[in-house]
Amino acid sequence: MAAFFSPFLSKPDTVSRIMLQVLLALLPGIAMYVWYFGPAILVSISLASITALGTEALMLKLRDRPVAPFLKDHSALLTGWLLALSIPPLAPWWLVVVGTAFCIVVAKHLYGGLGNNLFNPAMVGFAVLIISFPAQMTQWISPHGLGQIELTFADQLRYMFLGILPPNVTLDAITMATPLDTLKTHLHLDEPIRQILDMPIYGRLAGQGSEMVSWGFLAGGLYLMARRIISWHIPLAYLGTIFAMAGIFHLADPAHYVTPLFHWFSGAAMLGAFFILTDPVSSPTTHHGKLIFAAGAGLITYLIRAFGGFPDGTAFATLLMNICVPLIVLYTQPKIFGRKGRKP
C-alpha cells in the first residue's frame, strides 16, 4: 500500500534492522564465551532461538496477528539470545525451552506483544528460572583450563539433552561457582579479599574467562553506541553508579569490598548495561528518565551483590526499575519548545 500520509519520505531504518544490529553486537561476547567455556552456549542459543520463534509464531496466530512481519522484526530472537546468555550453558535443554517460552508467552504476548511489555522479557524468564530451578541455574561450566575434567562437545550435548554424564564424572567436577558467587561464599567465611582473589578462578580484573566475556559485551555495546542504536545515558548511568557505589565501599573498607572494576567485569554488568537495560520498550523514553532508571538499577545491582542473597543482581534490578518506568517518565517530561524557563 502506498503512503497516503505525509511525510512521504522515511529513513530506511526498521525495527528489524535495529534488532539485527543488537544481535550482531552480541557476537564478540558470544565468541569470548565459546573460547573460554566451550561451544555448549551455542547449543543453548540455538535452542532458545527456535523456541522463541516458535512460541512467537504460535502467539501471533492465537492473537490473530500477521505472523511474517512480526517474526522478521527479530525481537523474539533477541529475547531468546539474551536469556540463553544469562543462564548456565550446561543447563538442561528443557530449562532453556521453558524459560524462553515463558519470556515470549507471558512476559511479552500476554502484555500485548511487541512494544507493550512492561518488563524486560528476558529478565522475567531469568527470574522465573532462578526462583523455580535454583539447582540447575547454578551449573556454571568451569572456564577453560580450570575444571578437573573438561567434557567433549559430544559429552556436553549428551548431558544437556539426556542428563547423562560420562562414567566416573560428577557434576561438581565440571562445574564451579561463578566468581561473584565464590566471592560471596568466602566473604561469609570471613576470609580477606586479597586471599580470595588469589584463587585460580580469578583473573586480572575479575573472573577468569568471564571477564573476557564482559570485554566482548563492552565492545559490542560501544558498537551500538557508535551506530546510535542506543544512547549513552543508560550504560553510563548504570556503570557509573556501580562504579561509584563500589568505589565508596572499596575505599572505606578494602578488606571486605572488591574494586569497582571487579564489579564491572563480573556477572551480567556489561550485558545489562548495554543490552538489557537499554531495551527501549521497558526503559524510559526521556533522557533524564534514562539516567534515573539506570542509576537506580545500578544501585540495586550493587546492593544485591554486596548485601543481598543472590550473587548477581542485574536481573532483579532491571525488573524492579521496570516497574518504576511510567512514574519516572511522568516526572521527567522535557521542557518543550517555547516553554523553557516556565512550568511545563
Binding site: M1, F4, F5, R65, P66, P69
Partner: protein, 182 residues
C-alpha cells in the same frame, strides 16, 4: 457504661453541630451537579429525552429521576461523559433512541405559507419570518432538534444532514493495513 454513652452523645452533638453549621455556611445555591450535567448536554433542546429541554433533563438526571442514555444528539460520547461525571457505568441507547447524523432544518420556500407555527416551536429562535411572509432557517443557529417539523401544516420543512465541506472537514483516523498488501 454511662461514661461511654455520654462520650458518644457528646461526640455526636459536636459533629452534628459542625455539619449543621457547614451546611449553612457553605450552602451552594442552585444545583451544581445539574449545571455540570447541563454543560455536557448538547443543548439541542429537542425534547427527545422526554423532558422539555436540556436543562430539565439535567435536573432530572441530577435528581436521579432520569437515565443517562436518553439523549441521542449527544451521541455515545455524551453518554460516556455523563457516566464519567456521575461515576456510573455507561449504557447503550435504547432501540427507539438512536443518534442520527447532525442535520439542520431547511424550509422549502416555495411551499411555505408563512403561518409562523414553526417560529413558535423553535426553541432557539433560529427561524426568521413573519405572518404571511416566507420563513427561513438561520442554519448557523439551528440545533437540528426537529421540533419545527410536526407543527408545519404543509410539511415544507425537511432535515438536511450537515454536509462536509472544506471548512468543516476533519482529518480521519489513520487506517492502514497491518499486513503488507498482496
Amino acid at each position: 457504661m454511662l461514661a461511654a454513652l455520654l462520650a458518644m452523645s457528646a461526640i455526636a452533638i459536636v459533629l452534628g453541630a459542625v455539619l449543621g453549621y457547614s451546611a449553612i455556611k457553605f450552602r451552594v445555591d442552585g444545583n451544581p451537579l445539574a449545571d455540570k450535567i447541563d454543560a455536557v448536554l448538547p443543548q439541542t433542546q429537542c425534547g427527545q429525552c422526554g423532558y422539555p429541554g436540556c436543562r430539565p433533563y439535567a435536573d432530572a438526571i441530577a435528581n436521579g429521576e432520569a437515565d443517562i442514555n436518553l439523549c441521542p444528539p449527544g451521541g455515545e460520547e455524551g453518554i460516556q461523559k455523563l457516566a464519567e461525571l456521575l461515576g456510573v457505568e455507561p449504557k447503550p441507547f435504547g432501540s427507539d433512541a438512536q443518534p442520527k447524523p447532525k442535520s439542520v432544518a431547511f424550509i422549502d420556500e416555495n411551499t411555505c405559507i408563512g403561518c409562523t407555527l414553526c417560529i413558535q416551536a423553535c426553541p432557539v429562535d433560529a427561524i426568521s419570518g413573519a405572518a404571511k411572509q416566507m420563513h427561513t432557517i438561520i442554519a448557523a443557529e439551528c440545533t437540528g432538534c426537529e421540533l419545527c417539523l410536526p407543527p408545519c401544516p404543509v410539511d415544507c420543512i425537511s432535515m438536511l444532514p450537515l454536509e462536509e465541506n472544506v471548512a468543516n472537514w476533519k482529518w480521519k483516523y489513520p487506517v492502514y493495513a497491518l499486513r503488507p498488501s498482496k
